[in-house]
Amino acid sequence: MKYFYLIFSSLKRKKIRTGLTILSIMVAFVLFGYLTAIRQAFDAGVEVAGADRLIVRHKVSIIQLLPQSYEAKIERIEGVDNAAHQTWFGGIYQEPKNFFAQIPMEPEELFDMFPEYVISDEHKAAWLETRSGVVVGRGLVERFGWKLGDRIPVNATIWGKKDGGRSWEFDLVGIYEGAEKGTDTSQFFFRYDFFDETRANGTGLVGWYTVRVTNPDKAAEVAAAIDAEFANSSKETKSEPEGAFIQGFVNQMGNIGFIIMSIMTAVFFTILLVAGNTMAYTVRERTNELAVLKAIGFTDRGVLALVLGESLALTFVGGVIGLGLAWLLVSMGDPTNGSFPVFYIPNRDIVLGLGLIVTMAFVAGILPALQAQKLQIADALRR
């Protein structure tokens, strides 16, 4: 207890300095929290990808279409449990900056293939009844303030309609939730039968397939078998695990992880200097007092603990407030105004943050603490 009191009173003696140091540490942890959320926005898709799912696309590139008839052929291959096709619609809602993915799918297939999209039976039934119906993720619904029953016009950029028009109208009949924190709830699914009948060209062609395998350990063999099935046809395929497919996209956007790591390193290095410098000052200023403490019976180790404790108290207060603020900032919404599929600080990064607090306290405090430990009473008192 006496240590707590001593630490507390030494932090109190230079209130401005203590306050400023805490604030600069806080800033470091606000950034830490915020940047981990940004990284998570890019990585979440890879993490939640189904281990038992493969993506099958045209070998040359994803923009080349595959026949819908491949579905039955894929499902006949040994080790395949189910296959479902999706297509990139690429429409624009009001203006190009409102970007989100619109995907036509077969309703029965959607929720079977992606159990992480959770929907009530009523909404599902409504979708099966409404040909122009659309099921939208909670995140996207909130982004645009839509509600059930809304009619949502989307301007087609790729898929013109048979009647020559380009404006597709969808009825919002269902909202799905994410089963996990990292589930993408920014998607917009409409019915494939409606899509196929309405589009002017490309009838019977789809974008890519998601395939569920019965045994995830054999996923690589199944992928090879699927590609072999269509080898030497006019539309060859490339199959890969869903995680690898998404990772490929993330990699194409650039080395986000590296950029964020570099920024964090610069930030922590800077703040470490500030905090370490403050600690060095407090010890230098109080040489006398520390010597008195030793003279009245505090051990060398006790003094070491005292200085380290002070450093820990500073970083802990700053760090925890910083993480808290970051959490608040992040829950206020993402900086791109809804383009990120998910935006949150993952639990493991909060744990990592707490670990960083302790590490930083130690690194910033250890040199001054060792100095204090080594003080010779007689010398120090004379200074």
Partner: protein
């Protein structure tokens, strides 16, 4: 007045001379500010790089024609007849070989990225002869141009740098055939450098596109001819197209990514800048409190508080400028010209670009450092000047 100035000079000299005594905390503040400036300039140079690529892609007197409703080439589609009608429109420049209108085909193929080995969507463009004249910055730098009618390809320097398998002599898989790469071209850093170019006619047959294209690029007689050109196309009942100036087209392609990076970069810089202000305040408060007696002595000798304030602020500004220069210099060394690739969501294809640390960014960084220095020095300075002399002299 002269007296006042000489007072300032004396006090500044005084504080500069005592700087070495406070090297630890001064250095911490300096490095802190350098870190902030380096990160800010570094992140914003990504956005500047993308912007520069887009800007050097367009010529003032060039226009692009897409199907109406299409935002990008990828989504557009034009029949061969449409492209002929477009080429007859008024306002298009000519050379000895005819009209400078280039109908083009735009698809993507998968190639592994050098950095990660994972696939990227690399743009593959089919062009006709006028393309090289319309894009006046196009020039071959290695190998030779492909032969018209043959299955050969030339690649941009950016694409060759970022994606594997694009050296001269290697083969790329297009449709069911393998086409050799025979040359490398540059385009002043423009977007074309991310692309692979082939003869449009052979690409049409490889992709079974019949006689269809996606866009027509034209060189106009002048920038002023655009209105006439646009009116002629939009009023033609046979066509359903959207003509745009190249500069407008590329600007619309890059706004999203530019705003996103700039927004994020600014946010990060502001948060980090706050941290640096706290660091600088700490340093200057410490400096002032270490010199409490000194400053009080000066004031007892008759120095007024103005010069004291100015000396503290100028010390802080000096640290900030040094930190700003250091940070900006580091960012310039580390990031300028750094080659990278990203995915353009609008065209679903890769764009290669290089980070651009330009004079404007460097100035911005140093200005930001000065603001940090000013804020960090002002409050401690006022405090130093306000302290009652008698009490301050008694301190310590």
């Amino acid at each position: 007045m002269f007296n006042w100035l000489s007072q300032i000079f004396a006090v500044i000299q005084f504080s500069m001379r005592s700087l070495p005594q406070r090297k630890g905390s001064s250095l911490a503040a300096l490095v802190g500010i350098a870190g902030v400036v380096a990160v800010m300039v570094g992140v914003l140079s990504i956005a500047q790089g993308v912007l520069k690529t887009m800007e050097s892609s367009s010529s003032d007197d060039n226009a692009i024609v897409l199907r109406s409703g299409a935002e990008t080439e990828m989504m557009s589609g034009l029949m061969g007849d449409d492209t002929r009608i477009i080429a007859e429109a008024p306002g298009i420049a000519r050379d000895e070989n005819g009209v400078l209108a280039s109908p083009e085909l735009f698809v993507i193929i998968n190639l592994p990225m050098r950095s990660t080995g994972t696939d990227a969507n690399v743009p593959l463009r089919g062009v006709r002869a006028p393309a090289m004249v319309v894009r006046d910055r196009f020039r071959m730098v290695e190998g030779r141009m492909f032969e018209w009618g043959l299955n050969e390809a030339v690649v941009g320097v950016g694409a060759r740098g970022q994606f594997a398998g694009l050296e001269i002599g290697s083969k790329i898989e297009v449709g069911q055939e393998n086409w050799p790469v025979v040359g490398v071209f540059e385009a002043d850093g423009g977007l074309s450098e991310s692309e692979i170019w082939v003869d449009a006619a052979v690409l049409q047959s490889a992709y079974r596109r019949g006689n269809s294209y996606q866009a027509v690029y034209v060189k106009l007689d002048s920038r002023d001819a655009f209105d006439e050109f646009k009116d002629a196309l939009t009023s033609d009942p046979r066509l359903n197209v959207k003509p745009m100036l190249e500069s407008e087209y590329y600007a619309s392609q890059s706004t999203t990514i530019y705003n996103m990076i700039t927004g994020l970069g600014t946010l990060i810089a502001i948060i980090m800048g706050l941290g640096a202000v706290f660091g600088a305040l700490n340093t200057m408060y410490t400096a002032v409190s270490a010199r409490t007696r000194e400053i009080a002595t000066l004031r007892a000798l008759g120095f007024s508080s103005g010069p004291v304030v100015i000396s503290v602020v100028s010390e802080s500004l000096l640290l900030a400028v040094a930190g700003g220069l250091l940070g900006a210099g580091l960012a310039w060394l580390a990031f300028d010209g750094f080659q990278a690739a990203t995915l353009s969501w609008s065209s679903f294809s890769a764009i290669t670009f290089s980070f651009d640390v330009n004079a404007k960014l460097l100035a911005q960084g140093i200005f930001f450092a000065l603001v940090i220095g000013l804020v960090g020095g002002l409050f401690p300075a006022i405090r130093a000047a306000r302290q009652p002399i008698a009490q301050a002299l008694r301190e310590l």
